[in-house]
Symmetry: C2
Subunit: 216 residues, 2 copies
C-alpha cells in the first residue's frame, strides 16, 4: 500500500539506500521509545542527518510512521501477511516458526508491540493499519481452521472465531512479556505450546473448567 510510487522513478540508488537506512533507524527508535516519544531528531542522529533531513525524505513524522509499518510488512513478515503464507493447517506451524524467528529480532518485535498498542489511542495514525491487519489475520487463521476441521472430519465452527483471535492474542501477549523478561519467558516455546493447545481446543475440546473445581 504505501509504498511509494515514486521511489523507483526518480531517485538515485544512494538515496534509496538512505531512505532504507532511515526506515531501519525509525523502527529502532519507535521500538525503543514509542512513536510519540521517539523524535525525528533521534532518528536523524542515528543516520547522521538532522531532523530536517529526515523530513526532506518523508515529509512528516506521521508519514514516516506509516512508511515504517508498510516497510515492515514488505520485508519482514511479507511471508506472514499476504505474500505466500501457507494456506491450510501449515499456517499454524508457520506462526510457530515466526515466533521462534522473532526471538532473534527484539527491535522489530518491540516496535510492533508498542505501535500496535499505541494505535488504540485517540486518532492514532496507525489505527487503521492495525484494524485492517487484525481483520486480515483473523480471517486467514479462521480459514486455516476451517480447512483443518474439514480434514479432520470435525464440525465445530462455533469456537473457530474465538480461537482465531486467541491465537493472535497469545502471540502478541507473549511478545509483551518476553520484552519485559527476555530470559524468563521463552517466546518460541510458549507460542508453540499455546498454539497447539488452542488448535487442539478447537478439534477436541476437553473438559470444562468448572469440572476441575466441582469434583474436588
Amino acid at each position: 500500500m504505501a509504498s511509494d510510487s515514486r521511489d523507483t522513478t526518480r531517485t538515485r540508488p544512494a538515496t534509496r539506500q538512505k531512505r532504507t537506512e532511515i526506515l531501519n533507524a525509525a523502527v529502532e527508535i519507535f521500538g525503543n521509545k514509542g512513536s510519540t516519544n521517539g523524535t525525528l531528531a533521534d532518528v536523524a542522529d542515528q543516520v547522521g542527518l538532522t531532523h530536517a533531513g529526515v523530513l526532506h525524505h518523508f515529509g512528516s513524522k506521521q508519514n514516516l510512521l506509516l512508511e515504517v509499518l508498510a516497510y515492515r510488512d514488505q520485508t519482514d513478515v511479507a511471508e506472514l501477511t499476504e505474500q505466500h503464507i501457507p494456506g491450510g493447517p501449515e499456517l499454524f506451524l508457520h506462526l510457530v516458526r515466526t515466533a521462534f524467528a522473532n526471538e532473534m529480532r527484539p527491535g522489530i518485535v518491540q516496535a510492533y508491540t508498542v505501535l500496535s498498542n499505541e494505535s488504540v489511542t485517540d486518532d492514532h495514525p496507525a489505527r487503521a493499519y492495525f484494524e485492517e491487519r487484525y481483520t486480515t489475520l483473523r480471517r486467514e487463521v479462521s480459514a486455516a481452521f476451517h480447512e483443518l476441521c474439514a480434514q479432520e472430519g470435525v464440525t465445530e465452527p462455533a469456537t473457530v472465531a474465538a480461537a482465531s483471535a486467541s491465537i493472535l492474542a497469545v502471540m502478541d501477549g507473549l511478545q509483551l512479556q518476553w520484552l519485559l523478561h527476555p530470559d524468563v519467558v521463552e517466546l518460541g516455546e510458549a507460542s508453540a505450546f499455546a498454539i497447539r493447545a488452542i488448535v487442539n481446543g478447537v478439534l477436541h475440546p476437553g473438559p470444562e473448567l468448572e469440572s476441575y473445581v466441582d469434583n474436588e
Copy 2:
C-alpha cells in the same frame, strides 16, 4: 509528598474525593491518549482544575501515573492481584470472570493495555510496576497449575511455565483486539475458550501440530 500516609491523616473528605476524581480522569485520559500523549492539562480540564491544581495534589506527572496504577489495583482488580484471589483451580474461573467483567469497562481496560505496552519503552516510569505485576501473576497462575495437576494426578511441570505466561498473554492480546473491534471480538467468550484450551493443554496435551500436516 505523594503517597504520604494514607491521606486519612490530614486531608479532609472533600479533598479525598477530589483526588479520586482526578485519578478517574487520569485513567480516562491516559487510556485515551497514552501517558506520554495525555497531558496534565487534559486531566485538569476534566475535573475543572488547572494543571497546576493537579500538580498540587500529585506532585508530578510521573507520580500521578504511578498512583493511577496503584489505584487501579486497589479498586479494580484487587480481587485479582493479592487480595483474596481464589487459590487453586478456581483461579482459572476467576480469570474468565474477570474477562467478562472487563467487557463492561473499556476505559480501564484501555488504560491498562496502553500503559502496559508503553512500559516496554526506554526508562518508562511504569516499567518496574509491570515487570513486577507479570512476575507475580505468572507465579500465581503457576501455583494454580501445580495444584490442579496434583489434584488430577498429572505430572507435567514442563509446560506449566509456558502455559502460565500464555494465559496472561491471551487475556492481554484479546483485550487489544477487542479495543480495536469491540463488536467483532468477544472478550469474555474468547478468553473463556482460550483459558480452557490452555488448561486442558497442560493436563492432556493433544496431538502435535505437525501431525495435522504430515498425515495429510
